[in-house]
Symmetry: C2
Subunit: 679 residues, 2 copies
């Protein structure tokens, strides 16, 4: 590795310590400068992060900001391939070189702080360890001093932190210098076309890290505070989450980097046989369209009869779960202002919970539970043990939770009984969400969390934490101010939101105008693009989100929705440009089929798709669903052509996508009959 950038002197404590990734692509260098520990990240010898400080300011204890010396350096190598219970790739290699830097204060109280760096070929993660010792028992972090001194004013995609509507904003794309304090993942492209995703992994018993711009090209960790002003309360958990950099020369390589998962702990659940990737439909979109209501009344959606209609549809078409929202007591109050009205176990008279759940089971379908907490967390915590037990008894295997409410108004009481209002993304809620995950697992229930904390790869450790929203989702198509999500939203998500983890975006709309219900809104896609979202947005639980009656009108499109799986053996990115377009291919797990999905923003595209990923010794039928010649999201969104052709791994397809258009292809091994028919 080239010795660059950081100077050294002769004192061993002030030595510069470096380690490189297995293929020597990324390097980390650590040294102490004037008592301050500084780390640097280089890639193939060139800086990605300039020397940047490490440390903490504390409450209740002296700050951990030096003067430090490096007193021990441990290095090790790790190489293991592990299997995901479900996911975008079945077998993942976790291969890194580790450098554990022991820092010792050079003044009283002479405490130790450890920083561990794991250097991968696709990026770097590092975390702090707080060894339990005199002067560092339980303590509060006032501020994390970690800086990220970047090398330029990179093009950036981000959501501002500290907003009332949590993560439900469109990603902004500006130079970094126009950002203030942002959530992660923060995606960046340097002037020289290096792609960077900054995020964190294994967010456990800590506050969410946001990134504050504190100087030219410099970001600093800004931990979401408790309402009392401190940032983190360190008790049993003596490590921070991993601060992560994923580094790639193409945006697609960010997507197929599994660094976030690799930095999480292995699966802790003994039995995972009950955790099943699935598709679900349900009583949900009709309320967003205002065809029906959550509230009790004439247009109530959650009736026994309506639920059975959705169950019949799910049973007929092979869907796994049926979600019902609004079935429980509380929706007929001003629930948003006063969520404490909800019962999580008592159903309204119009809805017979046991009958519906049994009807589902009788039809080889399961009810998907729903817990809208309206961010009244303590109220929910009071009931949630009973609530999950009830669902377990009813054969429910997945629950959608919701935390609709102002992002700063989570009510909490301190030891003295004083009420506090906490952020959705501070340590209090991070801990709540993990409690729910563990509780759900005890009841063999998988989670689909809306308005939660951002994903940081905990799904590896708790595979029942299947999917979440935590982004601007589908419902804004129905009632968002913009008249529907803009065409580039879904072309941005794979490079931003989805880098954190699975996203319950609820794809599959086949009725793109709903003038009867919401004349000022529409879905700004072609039909083919809507199909492609099943591939371009990863979620092991994908909704079949449109109304049953609308699928009857689009049987060809619906065929693809029925065919597409939600669990994958492998994932590859064929074309990618952030916010502009993406083509992904995924191989189904436990089968031979591949699926291609390609989408674009408001501009049409002509993209090349060589099919080299297909098995070399197999001929396939390509079942193609593509934009027609005259398709355009604005005036001709339903113009879709379906066709079959024989292909193999030497075929090179040209994908012609309309403005806000898309294309999907199912590749299945051809039978002799197929070959005779299509050759």
């Amino acid at each position: 590795m080239p010795a660059t950038a950081l100077a050294s002197d002769d004192s061993p404590e002030d030595e510069r310590h470096s380690t490189a990734s297995p293929e020597s692509i990324n390097q980390v260098h650590v040294e102490v400068q004037d008592g301050v520990p500084m780390y640097q990240i280089t890639r193939l010898g060139e800086p990605v992060v300039e020397p940047s400080p490490l440390g903490f300011l504390l409450e209740d204890a002296p700050d951990l900001d030096g003067p430090f010396a490096i007193t021990e350096v441990e290095t090790s190598t790790f190489d293991e391939t592990w299997e995901q219970v479900w996911g975008e790739k079945q077998f993942i290699r976790n291969h890194y070189n580790e450098m554990r830097i022991h820092l010792t204060e050079q003044e009283d109280p002479e405490r130790d702080l450890v920083v561990t760096f794991r250097v991968y070929d696709d990026g770097v993660g590092f975390r702090y360890e707080f060894p339990e010792q005199e002067g560092l028992e339980e303590f509060r972090i006032a501020d994390e001093l970690t800086e990220f001194r970047l090398t330029g004013d990179h093009a950036s995609w981000y959501i501002d932190a500290y907003q009332w509507n949590r993560f439900e904003y469109y990603f902004e794309n500006t130079p970094l210098s126009e950002a203030d304090t942002v959530h992660t993942p923060l995606t960046m492209r340097t002037e020289d076309d290096l792609y960077i995703s900054m995020h964190e992994a294994a967010l456990v018993d800590f506050s969410t890290m946001t990134l504050e711009r504190t100087g030219e090209n410099t970001l600093k960790s800004n931990l979401m505070p408790w309402s009392e002003g401190d940032r983190v309360r360190v008790t049993d958990t003596r490590v921070s989450p991993w601060r992560t950099f994923q580094l790639a020369d193409t945006p697609g390589d960010l997507i197929t980097s599994y660094l976030i998962l690799n930095l999480n702990e292995p699966n802790k659940l003994e039995d995972t046989s009950w955790i099943k990737p699935a598709k679900y439909n349900g009583i949900w979109w009709e309320m967003h369209l205002d065809k029906s209501t959550w509230n009790r009344g004439e247009r109530l959606g959650a009736t026994t009869e309506n639920a059975k209609r959705y169950i019949d549809f799910a049973a007929e078409h092979g869907l796994d779960h049926v979600l019902v929202e609004g079935w429980n007591e509380g929706w007929d109050e001003a629930w948003y202002e006063s969520g404490v009205v909800f019962s999580f176990t008592e159903s309204i008279p119009e809805f017979d919970l046991e009958e519906v759940a049994q009807y589902a089971l009788d039809n080889d379908v399961r009810l998907m539970g729903h817990h809208e907490t309206s961010a009244s967390v303590l109220h929910y915590e009071d009931q949630m043990h009973d609530a999950f037990a009830l669902y377990e008894d009813l054969g429910v295997r997945a629950v959608k939770t919701g935390y609709v409410g102002h992002g700063t108004e989570i009510v909490r009481y301190d030891e003295d009984g004083n009420e506090h209002n906490e952020w959705h993304h501070g340590q209090f809620m991070v801990n709540h969400h993990l409690d729910v995950i563990e509780l759900a697992a005890e009841h063999q229930i998988a989670l689909n969390v809306h308005e939660g904390v951002k994903s940081t790869g905990l799904r590896r450790t708790y595979p029942n934490m299947m999917t979440s929203e935590v982004a601007k989702g589908r419902e804004y198509d129905a009632w968002g101010d913009a008249g529907g999500n803009p065409p580039d939203h879904t072309a941005t998500l794979p490079f931003t939101r989805n880098l954190a983890g699975p996203f319950d975006f609820t794809p599959g709309m086949v009725d793109l105008h709903f003038d009867e219900y919401r004349p000022d809104n529409r879905i700004k896609s072609t039909l083919a693009k809507e199909l492609a979202l099943y591939i371009t947005i990863f979620s092991p639980l994908h909704m079949v989100a449109d109304l049953p009656e609308n699928y009857e009108e689009q049987p060809e499109a619906f065929q693809f929705i029925k065919d597409v799986p939600t669990d994958w053996y492998d994932t590859k990115v064929l074309n990618a440009s952030i916010g502009n377009y993406i083509t992904m291919v995924r191989k189904e797990r436990g089968g031979d089929d591949w699926y291609l999905g390609s989408i674009t923003d408001e501009n049409g595209r002509v993209l090349s798709a060589p099919l080299h990923f297909l098995d070399a010794d197999t001929r396939y039928v390509a079942e193609i669903y593509r934009d027609g010649t005259d398709a355009h999201w604005d005036h001709t969104p339903y113009d879709m052509v379906t066709e079959e052709r024989l292909v193999d791994h030497t075929t090179e397809l040209t994908l012609r996508l309309a403005a806000s258009g898309g294309q999907v292809i199912r590749f299945r091994p051809a039978t002799d009959e197929d070959i005779e028919r299509l050759e």
Copy 2:
């Protein structure tokens, strides 16, 4: 095709006329607005060029600026696959829809003007025709009114026009709004990642078109003027060159677009059997290094003895031509100031032209001729018939010409004997260069033109017009102010200069520091990157440019230089980012081997290279020349690893390029012995 953007009324003359490319990817729309003919280009229904005016201001005749009406519209389709005599691809499909718009003045003198649009799936070309008619016999163009109203402030790569040093500048990369008047090709990337190259095709008997920014996002044709101020003198040639837009979603697709060639006339040479792609070495770099001199004296390079040394080297290693610069009378004067001193037929006493030429032929090598005109064009025209005849007699088959001199100082005399100073790129020189091409063809001589006019695809019509410089070339590594070309120069050229046509960049340097001769300069590449330039820069005549003695020191690298051909059956781009990196693969013509070349700028890269282009039923030996683990252009440029491995079309390689590094691979079908040895 969606009917967008331009309004129409009921009058047939004011109707909007549209045509689309064969796959309906690009569309052109033409209508007359207030008497002004306006064209628009859309791509998949979205605008690329907003409605923009057409027309001319004339001298000696009324302007051709309307009021016009459309009086006839002819449409046709063309689809033909033609064979290049040599080139980057052997068989090229020329498939377009054409729309010829006849415009008639609605006032006296009621002349006709025709505009022909050819709409391809990879872009659009249009040209004017000036039918010979009363009021439009011979005339002078005062200004071309063609505008190009673009849709945004696109990222742009360009060279400023109207500079003293002709095209020998580094490409600038700025928003379009920071450009003034620029040469073509002008390469652009829109905010939405559409790639555009604006250029012209078939520049014959016209002035070079530059592009002047005349308004927000608006460019206008700015024709290089005659010294008298008029722009073009129209006599026999009654058509303009084609104004071209190449449109692609990836920068690589600009490179594999053959629109410029397709818009040129087919080959006019009856016999092309004597035109051979080749490699050459010669007495050239040693003068740039100041190891020897062009001038006569103690360190003269062009001696009979030295030429024989280069011929011996060429013969030993299979090179085809040996260039000798400085062999003729005139170099020992202040030639740059007074180029009229040159003789193009008389050699200096130290150099026996006939002996050297015969020695070459005896060794199965040919002398490459050299005509440095020092831009004294009339002086050269006086001698050039004799000069080409002499070379033909001596068995020379290729001549390098040069026009070193201030870009505005070409001397010309008008009918009254008055002296004028013309631009290098005006109609006077455009015509001179075509005269030389035709004269050379009569003598079965191919051309390698330095300091000439930009390429516009004339090589299709005159395949003896093989290559040219017309850009900042290799010599700036030896003595340029920057201490050597910056690492991103060669990562920019494939997307800019090379879009016009072949480029004699003279690759193959294996001695990257030459402190003995030029201590302040060096070549800012790794050794592997230097090899890759043979692939990433296309030229059918490529130099083996370093000194013979330097190749003796690098036998491994030299092996690749000996192996690599300069003529191709096909070309594909695997990775591309303008100014940052490129990976290309090319299949040799008349053989089975493929060659991969990948280079990067000052940043290291990790790029994926799936080998799906290889024949499906063949196993290959990959002869790999790659940057070593510690390679870096600045401190360890010679760290190169060579290795062999067996691969096939299902192999996916990872290319690890050092900072300003590269990689080349020759893929050759494996023998049984190879398989046994390498498996």
